[in-house]
């Protein structure tokens, strides 16, 4: 019905009709699918939640004399960075924590500072301290380096997140009799609360459940700047249970995303501390969906009442990798503040910020309306249901004893 280049033409002329994934619900109710599909060009989505598989790589520039950080040790504000690349390329993961962090020695640990906080500070324009030890070579003689660095002065700073924007996720509860501290937040004993983490009807992959438009190369809102979908995310698992409309009822697709950190904003990349679990980062992502036909439009009209998530016990079922699910609830129920689990009314909390997700979808809407942001054709599709990809677990194999050898 429409092509991406036709939509881009309208964007460039400032004529594109762009609405958010929240607004489209009422528009279609009012106008019907065919009329809305003709009139609306782009639907914008958004999500702002903790995404642990996030980090950034940097090329720090060469000191005088030179130092080979590669194969040495590097810390940024005491948080260890990975150095197994060329001389001055390092990667910092958002869950990395200082060597002297007490971790969970006094359970639950606080994890007040980690890689995500470093990234947030760098993006905010603050100086951070780089400490390096290296072994020294003829061409890279230096063995120690202590200096401040700033995002503006280093060559490249690239946010590269192996797994973001999970398409649906577990609702976490605690069946045990003591409080537990998880990546899904603090879970009170005996079904004291239920934590969920998805923007629901505004979430990118829930508005394109079968990956008809979002693919490799898709240009997106990433951390307040522009980024791209680099690949399917790790643990991408398209073959899960789905509703009749194709919406996954379990955690399903994921995205690997990439973008220039220098044009991002600290407001949309936030270091966080999950008590008793670790440090992480909240990432803001928004993805435009081109309304190419009625089918694509219909997917974007998904509401919280149409999306179901599994309720999972994190005291025993999750840690022991058991398959049991305590039931399914819709995001409409979750957002009402209470769900029923095992006959008990359980209050709900979200870890993903809906107001911020709305703000992202609206910001992206503004960029497109102004003609600043055009849409991209995917270079290649994400693996879909037909790919047959399933999530593999790690099955341990016994390692032969070395006794008696040599």
């Amino acid at each position: 019905m429409k092509t991406i280049s036709e939509i881009n033409e309208r964007i460039r002329k400032g004529q594109a009709v762009v609405v958010t994934a929240e607004e489209i619900i009422d528009i279609v109710k009012e106008k019907g699918v065919s009329k809305a599909a003709r009139e609306v060009d782009v639907v914008t989505t958004g999500t702002f939640g903790p995404m642990c598989s996030s980090g950034a790589y940097f090329n720090l520039g060469h000191s005088k004399p030179r130092i080979k950080i590669g194969g040495g040790r590097a810390y940024i504000n005491d948080v260890p960075a990975y150095t197994g690349f060329a001389a001055v390329d390092v990667i910092l993961g958002c869950t990395a924590i200082p060597d002297d962090d007490p971790r969970n020695r006094m359970h639950p640990g606080d994890f007040l500072y980690g890689g995500g906080h470093v990234i947030e500070e760098l993006v905010a324009g603050q100086d951070v301290r780089l400490s390096v030890t290296a072994y020294g070579t003829d061409c890279y003689p230096r063995k120690k380096l202590e200096t401040y660095i700033n995002l503006r002065d280093i060559n490249e700073a690239v946010l590269f997140n192996p797994r973001n924007a999970y398409q649906n996720y577990n609702v976490a509860v605690n069946l045990s009799s003591k409080t537990i501290y998880t990546y899904m937040g603090v879970l009170k004993p005996n079904l004291g609360n239920a934590n969920y983490c998805s923007a629901g009807q505004l979430s990118p992959l829930l508005n394109d459940p079968l990956y008809k438009t979002i693919g490799i190369g898709t240009r997106i809102f990433l951390g307040g700047g522009v980024g791209y979908v680099a690949w399917q995310g790790t643990q991408h698992n398209p073959g899960v249970l789905r509703t009749e409309k194709g919406v996954p009822r379990r955690g399903a697709g994921t995205l690997a995303v990439i973008g220039d950190l220098k044009q991002m904003k600290s407001q949309w990349l936030r270091g966080i501390s999950m008590q008793g679990y670790g440090a992480s980062m909240i990432v803001g992502i928004g993805i435009p969906i081109p309304v190419l036909d009625e089918e694509i439009l219909r997917y974007t009209t998904v509401t919280d009442a149409d999306i179901f998530a599994p309720v999972v016990d994190y005291s025993e079922t999750y840690p022991q990798r058991k398959p049991d699910v305590l039931g399914e609830v819709s995001y409409a129920q979750l957002k009402n503040g209470r769900i029923e689990v095992n006959g008990k009314q359980v209050p709900t909390s979200s870890l993903s910020s809906y107001p911020r997700a709305v703000e992202i979808a609206r910001t992206l809407q503004g960029w497109i309306k102004k003609g600043d942001f055009t849409l991209t054709e995917a270079v290649a599709p994400l693996p879909g249901v037909e790919s047959g990809i399933t999530l593999k677990s790690l099955e341990e194999r016994k390692i032969e004893s070395l006794e008696g050898a040599g």
Partner: protein, 136 residues
Amino acid sequence: MAVSKRVVLRFSRRLVERPIIYRLVKDYDLEFNILKAQITPEREGLLILELKGNQKEYDKGIEFLLKTGVEIQALSQDVTRNETKCTSCGACITVCPTGAFSLEEGTRLVLFDNEKCIACGACIPACPPRAMEVHF
């Protein structure tokens, strides 16, 4: 002069089995309303009370509590939210024992009602961006 105050009491394991609140009523004529009570095995007890009574008797009652070894957290309105850090996710809502956090209808912004806060501190480590702050 009559007073009505909210206090957070923490009992060590040794004190959990003593009828301390009974003494507050009997000896100091204080009226109490239990807002939250929790005793976990191997751990301390937590009691959040609203205490009403004569100021003089109230002060004596508090003195008695301190003597027995009960820790009293001064109830304060000094719990604030750092608005630039808060992302309005809502992780605090179910950890707050008095329902001081709620969602604004429509926008789903997280509202913080200082009046309901009893300064227990439960929200502080439960907030991922650590937006809640206590200034004692």
